[in-house]
Symmetry: C2
Subunit: 306 residues, 2 copies
């Protein structure tokens, strides 16, 4: 299977390297990191895995890569408009376009440009850091929850899951991808948001502080209610698992906080803006999420030069 | 009329100086600023007024001052517990205890300690800065909205208003003080809160930014709905006047932001905590205000050493 990886952050580099290490024909689209990776390859470190992909096929142009069977989109959703013109050379009639991005609206965006039939989505449950152009460290998990855009799993989805599994990436097929996107928001909306707006705090701090914990629970319940109003049946106490899981995980800095601290773009629209807009359209209220959205937009705008 | 002023910030200094300048028998409780004020007096500057009170009666102990006919409480509500033991020497049977503090809960606090009959409350509509121990600059307005605690205006309330008016302080008597407290919260809850949480921005910035403006309107409507649920009949569009008035005023830094920037305590409980608690008790929801409350508590805690 010929695979193209768009986006050489931690996610693209890690899953691309895993797929290449398992013998797939993987091609990376890269920019500044191209020479380093060509020279040194990619090092992956994590519990139970320590390997180097020596010869990495990397390119600065999608025309050089040409049509693929699978294209993995692993850029920040804030870059969607930048990459959309570079995708067409990667497509043939049956190319699967898999977005591993956060939040809501990414499948819709690519479906609009390239046709809904091409589109799949994946949610990455992973704690990972890109140490340099050529090194990624995985600190926890690594699973992908995989689904088709707006339809149940197809034969190709199962084939794709099998390819991931052969590359030692645990893969969970789901028939309702949108439901899973909302389920992940139960976590992302409070923790990613509060970690920044409360002044740079991690998950342990948030859960230990009486007021922030209360705020987190309120936000989680608000997300669940909005999801249900939008037709995605999350159970009323779905927040419990997220809290238990986060408590078990120990202190963790949400990726958005790391991005914030290093001056990188935040996926504000995908994580907060789009859920609020969909909830509003469905007649639901997300006042707490809206407050976070307003504040994040403003804080983000303030740190950037006009 | 013998008057004691507790609290020598901008509010206490300004109104105390006005009352003294008009010939009342005014005594200030002071701390570090005592020597400066004894030596230099108090200078008041503002449109249409420029005067100095030369001989200021200031004291470091309320026992020295002794029983007064009127005691003005002008400390931050965060200091209520500190001053409560110092009040008794100032009281006789018919002393009026007037709190000029912000937010909810101050009348109740002093009523509990000294009896409801003593208590009056005032809302100051003023833009004022204390330039030094001995100087205050008034930049706009100066009116006081005055009322009795939990009862309509009494003969003594009218007498007190007359004393203020004779000191050239415009005074508006109200029969329902609690309603006026909630009315002021329509402004304080959004502007004081957002100005800090959005990263240090003034009223003009908030109203010019599409998202912060929207957040402000949502917060105002939330306050109005909660007030009504608590039995205070604010009209549904009461927010309009506040917006018009704020737009006319030009850029203004809410006092809480000034306090925040200079590391002073914030009246978080009086402005955000107590309204949320009362609304909750009345079965109303203030989710946006609650988010601000949570974030302000946390940001405030973070800037202070444990």
């Amino acid at each position: 299977m010929k695979i193209g990886i768009i986006g050489s952050g931690a996610i693209g580099t890690y899953y691309g390297a895993k797929l290449a290490h398992a013998g797939n024909d993987v091609h990376f689209l890269m920019r500044g990191d191209l020479d380093d990776v060509r020279r040194e390859g990619i090092f992956v470190r994590g519990e139970g895995e320590n390997f180097r992909v020596e010869k990495v096929s990397c390119h600065s142009s999608t025309k050089e890569i040409g049509p693929c069977d699978l294209v993995v989109i692993a850029v920040k959703s804030t870059s969607n408009l930048e990459i959309v013109d570079r995708v067409p050379p990667l497509l043939h009639e049956r190319t699967m376009l898999l977005t591993l991005q956060n939040g809501l609206g990414n499948e819709e965006f690519f479906a609009e440009h390239f046709g809904a039939d091409h589109i799949l989505g994946g949610l990455c449950f992973i704690a990972i850091t890109r140490k340099s152009h050529t090194e990624v460290d995985r600190t926890a998990h690594g699973d992908i929850v995989l689904g088709e855009f707006n339809r149940p799993a197809q034969p190709r989805t199962r084939e794709l899951a099998a390819i991931f599994e052969r590359a030692h990436i645990r893969c969970h097929l789901r028939d309702d991808l949108a439901l899973e996107r909302w389920r992940k928001l139960i976590w992302n909306i409070p923790f990613n948001g509060l970690s920044i707006v409360a002044g740079g705090v991690d998950t342990r701090f948030i859960l230990a502080n009486e007021h922030l914990r209360e705020g987190t629970l309120d936000l989680m319940k608000e997300v669940i209610a909005a999801a249900n109003k939008c037709g995605h049946a999350l159970s009323k106490d779905a927040w419990r698992k997220h809290i238990e899981w986060t408590e078990a995980m120990g202190p963790y800095k949400p990726s958005t906080l790391t991005d914030w601290e290093s001056g990188k773009p935040l996926e504000i629209e995908a994580i907060w803006g789009e859920p609020v807009r969909r909830a509003t359209a469905a007649g639901a209220q997300m006042p707490r999420t809206e407050m976070l959205y307003v504040l994040l937009k403003q804080l983000d705008r303030k740190r950037r030069p006009e």
